[in-house]
Subunit: 163 residues, 2 copies
């Protein structure tokens, strides 16, 4: 019960694209080199972000990815949902309706959601609400200026060496 | 990235124990029959709840489990943490410190937590806070009286048939 490492990768890539991405697409191999990530696995993460409409992908030898919209309009929730998929944290199998305990129950009794499920979903909603309240632009704004300058310089060097 | 089905099982078992458990321990096979669960896998869940101090376990042919403390003092978070373990939802691999992007960074730069990690943990804290605000007693209080009466009657029948 953990977010995959792809969530961290996806968020850092969106941040990097916010800082260095202009009109030119950023090759996924270069993003992988920025963080020493597996290019193959990073490609899968970037594909998920692209399918979710957070990135646009340009094919070809000079291709790559860029943000599909402004960092202000990409929430942390968007990235988590793109990488992890839409399934809820808690999935309810309605065991209350099964077995000896449920014998003789009226069907209408189960029309009302189970308290267990309601409690779990209430917590999940709080989690989603916090993730939705923070954008890639917020993360960028919270990063020290010196770090951003270093990342941009390192990126430029990498681009110059044609990675 | 999902809670295991053991979370639902554990919460429903705690609720059942709150309703039917008196001084006598409840055999795990009987709890399994109440919800038509795998006795083997349910045993693992009950062991986790016992290790976490939420249940006490009595050995022997007339043994079983009971709540280790009042339902008011067992939170949903307690049960989730017992079943899922203490790991956070989001585990940060600090990829910001790796690769070409981190070259030339001062070590002190990374003393401050990563914004990505902070954002994820803030959401997780909201999730934990909601789970901690709800107890087994709250879940019990939210259950319709007719359901509780039925569960108690079904449990008594099962106990009478010596399951």
């Amino acid at each position: 019960m953990r977010t995959s490492e792809g969530v961290e990768w996806g968020l850092h890539c969106c941040l990097t694209l916010a800082w260095v991405g202009g009109a030119d697409p950023v090759p996924s191999a270069r993003l992988a080199a920025m963080f020493e990530l597996s290019p193959t696995y990073l490609n899968k993460v970037l594909q998920r972000l692209t399918r979710a409409g957070l990135l646009t992908s340009a094919p070809g030898p000079r291709g790559g990815v860029r943000l599909a919209r402004a960092p202000e309009r990409i929430t942390v929730m968007d990235v988590v949902a793109a990488v992890e998929g839409p399934d809820p944290l808690f999935s309810c199998a309605e065991i209350r309706q099964r077995g000896a305990g449920a014998e003789g129950a009226a069907v209408r009794e189960f029309a009302r959601p189970c308290g267990v499920s309601t409690a779990m979903r209430r917590a999940e909603l709080a989690w989603r609400r916090e993730l939705s309240a923070q954008t890639v632009a917020d993360l960028a704004a919270g990063t020290p200026a010196a770090s951003v300058a270093r990342i941009r310089a390192n990126y430029a060097r990498l681009a110059g060496s044609s990675v």
